[in-house]
Amino acid sequence: MKRILLACSAGMSTSLLVTKMEQHVASINEDAKIWAVGQDQARKEMANADVVLIGPQMSFLKGDLQKEANKYGIKVDVIDMMAYGLADGKKAYEQAVKLMGE
């Protein structure tokens, strides 16, 4: 099962995106664990994730977070602007899956 961690400053906007992504995952009959946390918990939570997507408001933390994520051999990236701006669960999920494959 794919484990996707989303993080933004308060974990609020991304929790909404989680719902959208889950709806998409269900519609294509796949199974994934997707959850959102605030930026302070991201470091701790990434131990349980296969990929980390962060909100644009914390893209300045990408480098730091990637360093931490290297310990677990996973990727960190900023959520695609279009996917985020339009709260597009499908696009965000596809981005996560692509990152896992790289």
Binding site: C8, S9, A10, M12, S13, L16, G55, P56, Q57, M58, S59, F60, M81, M82, Y84, G85, L86, A87
Partner: protein, 110 residues
Amino acid sequence: MENIDLDTLTAEQINFMLILHSGNARSKIIQALREYREGNVEESDNLLIQAEEDLKASHEIHFKMIQKEASGERVEFALLLMHAEDHLMSTLTMKELVRELLDIFKQKNL
């Protein structure tokens, strides 16, 4: 991104757009401070200018929403909208403060 017609978006998407632009600005403001710390003054200035553009985009969306409400059209209220406004206002404050700080640093040759 700039070509998106707001009228085609849902209220939720508009809130996300507000957060997106404010969020991009927030990242650039912090990055501007970091670049300055590393001695990259020009890059720091550029980032702050870009952050102002992002904030302008966010502010324009917000302004349209206020105008819509003022003209008697109901704007749907949601916790997410409050959160988006929070993002916008706190980032505006950050930008003003960081600009002042960088001016002080420059003046004092820090």
